[in-house]
């Protein structure tokens, strides 16, 4: 796939986009069918073999958790340059995603093309995380991948948290002393931003004034915050009140489809870029659902060449809200994400089952 053909990311209209996506996904379907035996096996047994597909709805998919149970690679081992693993909460098997040089490069480039739309120039960057999460000490996981991906938009990367994920307010004060009069970029995982930045500052009675033009991008999911009933609105208001940070953008993305992320616009909805898309399926029947109806999100991306991750049925719940007509002006489907399927409860005679899952 040639990235240039798909740029800029938010200008392609539905008719053209769908036709091109379907064509490209058919190519990818064949590509992985030819090169990844487990993928071919799944497409054979779940979708009755390989056929030319005429719509996103009929494109074969893999359940995203399959990357936890099966090694899925479409490249010879010697071409693998990087294996990414999901952060994975304790006791859970992480996803493993194999990247060759080409896929890794195209992922990095697409991320740039998207973020450029929100952050036109390089800025001093504050990372709400610890340095150890990117220097390899904690493995190459989703958090590291995200920080490194976004680090390209920053200069003088300053990590707010210490090894124990506690905020170092003196470091922040120094950072603002240096850059307090110019545009700043703040990046972090959603729950870290909330717990270790917003909450920690209010507990410590600290207030900081970020420059008006500061942009914050955060992602990684709302699971932990939803448990505390923290809404996106409260999240944004708190950042504005406590830090004066007014341009806050969430993004939805996953380690299985790095690069093609879904950024939140000023309207508070997530946007599909030209080279990615979503549909929503009923959690009851897997039927494709119309707009404004919540269900399981299926994501498409034309980027994955080294592993069959171009069409994934996620365990995230959400609804698509419209296409090409968001007041922010961006084309493409826009949607929101509202939680995940809960983890299935274990019953049965055996403790071993509990250990395995």
């Amino acid at each position: 796939m040639n990235l240039q053909d798909w740029l800029p990311p938010y200008e392609m209209e539905a008719a053209e986009k769908t036709a091109r996506l379907v064509a490209e996904l058919n190519v990818l379907n064949r590509h992985h069918w030819d090169r990844c035996r487990p993928y071919q096996n799944v497409v054979k047994s779940l979708f009755g073999g390989i056929h030319e597909i005429d719509s996103l709805a009929r494109m074969p998919w893999l359940p995203v958790s399959l990357f936890k149970t099966v090694e899925l690679s479409s490249v010879p081992a010697e071409q693998v340059v990087k294996v990414m693993a999901s952060s994975g909460t304790s006791g859970m098997t992480p996803s493993r995603i194999v990247l060759d040089a080409e896929t890794a490069t195209v992922q990095a480039r697409t991320l740039v093309s998207i973020v450029k739309e929100f952050l036109p120039e390089r800025r001093p960057m504050l990372v709400i995380d610890e340095r150890g999460s990117v220097d390899g000490r904690s493995g190459f996981n989703a958090r590291a991948a995200a920080i490194l991906g976004f680090a390209k938009f920053g200069a003088d990367h300053t990590y707010l948290l210490d090894d124990d994920l506690q905020p170092r307010w003196d470091v922040l004060a120094g950072f603002l002393d240096r850059y307090g009069d110019q545009p700043i970029f703040v990046f972090g995982f959603t729950w870290l931003v909330w717990e270790r930045f917003v909450n920690a500052a209010s507990k410590a009675g600290r207030r900081f004034d970020f420059p008006e033009s500061t942009v914050m991008i955060h992602g990684g999911g709302w699971k932990k915050l939803q448990q505390q009933a923290v809404s996106n609105e409260l999240f944004k208001n708190s950042l504005a009140d406590q830090f004066g940070i007014k341009h806050v953008y969430d993004y939805y993305g996953m380690i299985e489809q790095v690069g093609s992320i879904y950024m939140e616009c000023a309207q508070g909805v997530l946007h599909a870029p030209s080279y990615a898309d979503i549909i929503v399926r009923s959690p009851e029947t897997l039927d494709v659902l119309p707009a404004n109806t919540p269900g399981l999100i299926q994501t498409f991306s034309v980027l994955p060449q080294s592993y069959p991750g171009h069409s994934l049925l996620t365990e995230d719940m959400g609804a698509w809200l419209g296409e090409d007509d968001c007041p922010c002006g961006r084309k493409g489907k826009y949607f929101h994400v509202r939680g995940r399927l809960p983890k299935a409860e274990l019953r049965g005679c055996s403790d071993v089952i509990a250990l395995r899952a």
Binding site: S45, T285, L286, L313, L341, S350, D351, V352, A354
Partner: protein, 403 residues
């Protein structure tokens, strides 16, 4: 969990210092307790929505006498409890171990039951609302000293102390737990009953299904469904693989009929919630990706639930997570069914297979394989011989009295 009834290891220690005496088997005081527990379960609305608790209540409706007495052959002697019994129970099957605890009580033992701190909803309901409150009543004061529940880590010293002094140790698996507990030295004179990891099947005659009248077919499908639904199809006895007996044409026709009736009985959600169905889908996809399952089916491809097995090896048994997942394999004759059975296999639920053929199958099965053959619909029915072990016999002793 109500602290009033769950004892600490220190209290267990104290109880061990002056142990109770074993009773004669089927002592009326033990029978009365089981009978009252049963009555409480059977008349409770809360238990009514928990089929496993209703089944427990039903089994002990006369205190368990009718079920157990036939297993106590009369020797020339006095049937007694063995003495102190240590029960190590599993985390996930909340209620099945209660059968063995109560049988042990009925046989006359003093029972120390280590409960998991991860009891599920049905287990909490059973203990917090029925068992514990009953044990607090003065009328069951004596029973409360012979049915003692406690929790402790798996490596706690009290388990070693109990193992060294008890006359009977009952361990509910999985295999890992059994290995860990077996490493703890057991009183050389004690008996041990272990329930290891098991896998179970159905064996259906295609010709039988093809000949069934519609209402009988419906009944069979509904019975199969009820076996699948109990414990989320994750119990050792839950049927997970269907062996179809017949020639390929017969089997094709039988499958079409049977699964149509099954899907009708189940409704399209198959009674599992979306998270469970997603987990099932991941299992099926994993099996397919690894080439163990060739064709995955389910009405209109919506939440597929069954797959055609290419082979049935141990990894299929390991990867099968239940939750409505059905794997199928065709067998031409009884000998080829026997060839698929492994040492780890437990229950076979059957439809349309005659007794002679089943005896053949039992004889041809590998050592240790196959413990139980019952009709479809009875996969989870408790029976005093459980997992091939005669519980009333093993949980008691006969003092010969040859005068």
């Amino acid at each position: 969990m109500s602290a009033m009834v769950t004892e600490t290891p220190e209290q267990i220690k104290a109880a061990l210092a002056s142990p109770q005496r074993a009773w004669r088997s089927l002592d009326p005081r033990a029978v009365a307790f089981c009978k009252q527990l049963s009555a409480a379960l059977l008349k409770s609305d809360a238990a009514r929505s928990a089929p496993a608790l209703m089944a427990l209540g039903f089994w002990f409706r006369d205190g368990g006498l009718r079920n157990i007495e036939p297993f106590l052959q009369h020797h020339r002697g006095v049937r007694m409890g063995r003495g102190l019994a240590l029960h190590v129970t599993p985390a996930n099957v909340d209620t099945v171990f209660m059968y063995s605890c109560l049988i042990s009580l009925l046989m006359g033992n003093i029972n120390f039951v280590r409960l998991s701190d991860r009891l599920g909803d049905e287990g909490r309901l059973l203990f917090d609302h029925y068992v514990f409150p009953m044990l607090r009543r003065t009328e069951f004061e004596e029973i409360a000293t012979r049915l003692i529940f406690f929790t402790c880590p798996r490596n706690h010293g009290i388990l070693a102390e109990l193992s060294a002094t008890c006359q009977l140790r009952v361990v509910w698996g999985g295999d890992e737990t059994i290995r860990a507990i077996r490493a703890i030295a057991l009183n050389p004179r004690a008996g041990e009953i272990c329930f290891a990891d098991r896998f179970s099947f159905s064996l259906i005659s295609a010709g039988h299904v093809n000949g069934l009248a519609p209402t009988d077919l419906e009944r069979l499908a509904a019975a199969f469904l009820s076996d699948v639904k109990l414990f989320g199809q994750q119990a050792c006895s839950s049927p997970r693989v269907v062996f179809w007996l017949g020639d390929p044409t017969q089997v094709e026709a039988a499958k079409r009929r049977f699964w149509h009736a099954y899907e009708d009985a189940a409704g399209r959600a198959l009674d599992f919630n979306p998270a469970e169905r997603m987990a099932r889908l991941v299992d099926l996809s994993t099996l397919a990706a690894q080439g163990m399952v060739s064709q995955v089916l389910g009405r209109s491809q919506h939440y597929p639930y069954r797959g055609e097995l290419n082979q049935l090896d141990q990894s299929v048994r390991r990867l099968h997570g239940g939750r409505g997942l059905i794997l199928e394999i065709t067998a031409a004759d009884i000998a080829s069914v026997a060839g698929l059975i492994r040492e780890s296999d437990q229950t076979l639920t059957v439809a349309g297979i005659d007794r002679e053929a089943l005896i053949q199958l039992i004889e041809k099965s590998p050592n240790g394989g196959l413990q139980r053959v019952v009709e479809i619909g009875h996969a989870l029915d408790f029976y005093p011989i459980w997992d091939g072990q005669n519980l009333p016999e093993l949980m008691s002793r006969t003092v010969s009295l040859l005068l």
